[in-house]
């Protein structure tokens, strides 16, 4: 996959009255990434997306898509969903998509395929207002996919959906991501970002607190649970090692933390070398939630 830059944001600022919705935001999003923009409600996610889509005028700063300034032609390369699905309630799925196709100047013949992909083909002739929320959201994804755009922007794509709907949308996003499309997804659901995204930026009050790959954020601080036949021996071996930090003991189970340079496999090799026979080893990755809360705490 090439790592050419899809979107670069330089010092974007937007102020609504006295509130700074977005403050000097810097971001680079490369081709092929599934990029999560994570932050609590009101952290400036939608405002940021609104600005890069030309819906909101930035007070300061600039951004480029594919190295070019924003234009209607660039927008036709980007499929997007912002917040709620926005369609004419009295028009059918097909008619609504035809309007979008006219705007994007693409042919109607890809409509059946898209409607099948999002599972709305059977209901394509029914008015949008008769759809469930999940169907509406799926139609929005179909609209975003029209014209086979290079980049997909999804703002809270699973908002308000039931668990089944959420699972369907996630599967759909991953499926699209596997086709090599770049996806930019805003969400306040950590779990969602963790499950879907390759990269993440954490926003709070319009400020970017962290930006990097999800695996990097997840790998610093793997905590492990170990137990061995001989607990005492295990404890002494662990205490002797520099890169293992003892976190605590719960019965026979010992909790440890590894430093960044060593993996659970390294621990296993070390213990075997030391003649410790373990009968339990499990890695409990800190969830993104823990990281997220830590990042937020650091700033406070």
């Amino acid at each position: 996959m090439t790592s050419e830059t899809v979107l670069s944001i330089h010092g974007l600022v937007k102020q609504f009255g006295r509130v700074k919705a977005v403050d000097s935001l810097q971001l680079e999003i490369a081709s092929g990434q599934i990029f999560g923009i994570l932050g609590p409600n009101g952290s400036g996610k939608t405002t940021t997306l609104g600005m890069v889509l030309g819906l909101i005028r930035p007070d300061r700063g600039s951004f480029e898509w594919f190295g070019k300034p924003l234009s209607p032609d660039v927008l036709k390369q980007i499929g997007s969903i912002l917040e709620t699905p926005l369609f004419y309630p009295y028009l059918s799925a097909t008619d609504n998509l035809k309007i979008i196709a006219d705007i994007k100047q693409t042919k109607y013949n890809e409509l059946p395929e898209l409607l099948k992909m999002v599972g709305l083909f059977e209901r394509r002739k029914d008015a949008f207002k008769t759809y469930s929320l999940g169907m509406k959201q799926r139609l929005a994804i179909a609209a975003a996919m029209l014209g086979d755009p290079e980049v997909l922007i999804l703002d809270e794509p699973t908002n308000g959906l039931d668990p089944q709907g959420i699972a369907e949308i996630r599967e759909l996003i991953l499926q699209i991501g596997r086709r090599g499309k770049t996806i930019i997804m805003a969400s306040h659901l950590l779990d969602e970002v963790q499950k879907i995204c390759t990269d993440v930026a954490v926003l709070q009050k319009g400020v970017c607190l962290y930006s990097g790959s999800v695996s990097a954020i997840m790998s610093d601080g793997v905590s492990l649970e170990i137990s061995a036949e001989d607990t005492k021996q295990l404890l002494s071996v662990i205490e002797a090692c520099e890169w293992i930090a003892l976190l605590g003991q719960k019965g026979d189970v010992i909790k440890v933390n590894l430093d960044k340079n060593n993996s659970p496999a390294d621990l296993n090799i070390y213990l075997v070398q030391q003649g410790v026979r373990i009968n339990h080893l499990s890695a409990s990755k800190k969830s993104l939630e823990t990281h997220f809360l830590e990042i937020l705490k650091q700033q406070a």
Binding site: D73, L75, L86, Y90, D95, I99, I100, I103
Partner: protein
């Protein structure tokens, strides 16, 4: 332009509300243009009974005067297309489909032109209705059927068309500013019926005469029928070029302001 009209048309053609409103408009317009003579004649003959001077029989539907008469009458219903315009332009704001369309790559300029197309469509529909009834009634009721007489004053249709465009442009500006259909309709009606007339009372005559509704409305003056002459009125029987120019200027002003708002606004 073809693409934009397709987009504008697709939004509306399956909306039942749109067709019902349009039908109601067409019916009331037809009713008015078709039935007005009987109505006026009834009043005239009633008045005639008590009048010391006999009121002559006259026809509204005589070529070429019919163009003036019907254009003037059709003007009374111009609130109707303004209503349709405001309802459907506001719909784009309340469904926020305009936001959707712009992020899908419809430029703000193109979006503005889809609105202008709706203004044009409504004005064309109205003008066609007017032409249809003028021709139908004129051909039935006129005795003089040479081409010069038939089309003699048909330029009143063009003036009516411009009057509507100007009027609808103001409606477009209001609804673009306010974004809510109910609010816009109320604001529009009040400014048309009350605000401007009240302002006209308090400002110098020159200003009053050039207020938008006044000037737009006075382009087609009250038809100078024999009945009116009888009462001693003397209205314009032609289209004044200065009226035309100022109406045109207002139209441009309204549209430029609308465009400016669309171009600048955060969605």
């Amino acid at each position: 332009m073809k693409r934009l009209s397709k987009i504008a048309f697709r939004k509306l053609y399956k909306s039942r509300v749109f067709w019902i409103m349009l039908l109601l408009y067409a019916v009331s317009m037809s009713g008015m243009l078709f039935g007005v003579e009987a109505f006026i004649n009834k009043i005239a003959s009633n008045t005639g009974k008590n009048s010391p001077i006999p009121i002559p029989d006259f026809s509204l539907y005589e070529f070429p005067y019919i163009w003036h008469n019907l254009s003037y009458l059709a003007g009374f219903l111009k609130l109707f297309p303004a209503l349709i315009l405001m309802v459907f332009v506001a719909a784009d704001y309340s469904y926020r489909t305009n936001r959707m369309q712009m992020m899908m790559g419809l430029s703000r300029t193109e979006y503005f032109f889809t609105q202008v197309l709706l203004v044009l469509a409504l004005a064309i529909i109205s003008a066609l209705l007017l032409v249809f009834w003028a021709m139908a009634k004129g051909l039935v009721h006129s005795t003089d059927l040479n081409v010069g007489s038939i089309f003699g004053k048909s330029y009143f249709v063009a003036a009516y068309f411009l009057e509507l465009i100007a009027f609808l442009s103001f409606a477009l500006l209001l609804v673009t500013t306010l974004r809510k259909s109910g609010l816009s309709i109320i604001a529009f009606s009040i400014s048309f019926i009350a605000i401007e007339p009240i302002i006209r009372v308090y400002v110098p005559d020159v200003v009053a005469q050039n207020m938008p509704f006044k000037r737009i409305g006075s382009m087609i003056d009250v038809p100078n029928t024999s009945l009116m002459q009888l009462f001693g009125f003397n209205f314009k029987t032609y289209i004044d070029l200065s009226d035309l120019a100022i109406t045109l200027l207002y139209t441009i002003l309204f549209l430029v302001l609308t465009y400016w708002i669309i171009k600048r606004r955060d969605l």
